[in-house]
Amino acid sequence: MVAAPGKRKTDDLIIVDADIHVNDTPAALTPYMTQPWRKSLEVMGGGTSYLNVPGFAPALKLDPPIPGGHPSRSVHTPAEMRQGLDELGIDLGVLFPDNLLLFAVLPNIEYATEISHAYNRWLVEEWLREDNGLYGAIVACPQNPHDSAREIARYAKEDKVVAVYLPTAGVHPLWGDRKYDPILGAAQAANLPVMLHSVTVVTPQFPYQLDQFENHWARQMLSHAFAMQANLVSLMHTGVPARFPELKVGFTEAGIAWVPYMIWRMDKYYNEYRRMIPFLEKRPSEYVRDRMWFATQPIEEPDDPRDLVATIKLYDPDGSRTLYASDWPHHDFDHPKGLLKLPMSPEMQRNIMGASALELFGIPAPVRK
């Protein structure tokens, strides 16, 4: 197993990264695509930029480039990814797509279905074949839940497939709708956690009306965080935690400070409206504490770091439901050192930096050479 020797003081600490991104260009996926859609990818070719792939998503760039430019990175090979993680001091990581973060907005069901197959095959064949500390989340296809359920069953026994990624940006209806039950049921049967991941997207779906903001800073404030809150509520309001009692759910790329707010709010109105959601047999916060995990990136950066630790403890006293995530190689990635310096107990640190993820993803603890 790969380590990052000499790179950090806490050498006994296993660092697992719950959210890293591969560059899934149309050119990369082309060989894995069935016809006639391979012909579509051939037309698109390579040379695309992050989150702006025509056909994969609305090619809607609302902002001019940031004056003076802005850092942008993409990772095209496992070796590049391994090198990036080594430099950050990260032992293991779970791969998510880049361009397919916009997957849920694809309107063409046949095309979306085949793209999901191609991505999953490409991921397993090109990224998960070596013992390099890279694990992956296969993409679920909300456009075709029954096919997606079969796809999940197909990969259930792949050792390095450790999660099902639920495309969350622009998904409609939201996760939790009963039409997606086959996907959640298949993930539960495969003992794979489902991971919600969003991205900024301007669509007529939730969180819509982001077009009214004049710049991307504003859209970034709301897009991921609202998507996570809305989908958490959606999962809860159709009784997913009760209907799928073994299903584990992860929330990524929205930070963590929204979690206490939402669990308190859900509990408060559960007091009053319990009759509307009688499938919940306990308070929403208890389901959250039992079977939901939250990835740290983009971690909030209050002036006093003790405030951040206190905030995590509001929903997760020992760090066992919180997952370190870098979001490497994206522009807003979080270096593990930022979290390592937080004032918390060694147990909480061990959990957040890796032990929680090993448990959630069922990854055996790596043995250092």
Binding site: A242, N271, Y273, R274, P278, F279
Partner: protein, 118 residues
């Protein structure tokens, strides 16, 4: 602890309830299908007048109902008039947070008279 006479059982038929004052504490007296229950008239949530609320049933939805909504426990559930928090009259438990329950005072019928011990 002492016994307090609430009244003749005929004045509290099944399905009825009433709030009485015992010394200075208000207590709700409930007849649920012939069995009597006595709870404080103070909700656990924001201390509203719990026993002034309505008594009826509640919804259920689980594997036992084939995941269909059902109406269950008619006459056994008390709903606080302030925020609608539900309590099981027969156990005092809050449905939304079953760890929390209101106190149940001993109450019984003797020679046709309802008597509360408090």
């Amino acid at each position: 602890m002492a016994e307090h006479i609430i009244g003749p059982v005929a004045e509290l038929p099944p399905g009825s309830h009433r709030v009485v004052k015992v010394r200075n504490l208000e207590i709700g007296i409930f007849n649920v299908g012939g069995a009597f229950y006595a709870l404080p008239n103070i909700c656990t949530h924001q201390f509203g007048p719990l026993c002034a609320g309505t008594v009826n049933g509640t919804t259920a939805c689980s594997a036992a109902t084939d995941w269909r909504f059902a109406w269950v426990r008619e006459g056994e559930i008390l709903t606080c008039p302030w925020h609608g928090m539900e309590f099981d009259i027969t156990t005092g438990r809050c449905l939304a947070n079953p760890k929390v329950r209101v106190r149940q005072y001993p109450i019984a019928v003797e020679d046709g008279i309802v008597k509360l011990t408090l």
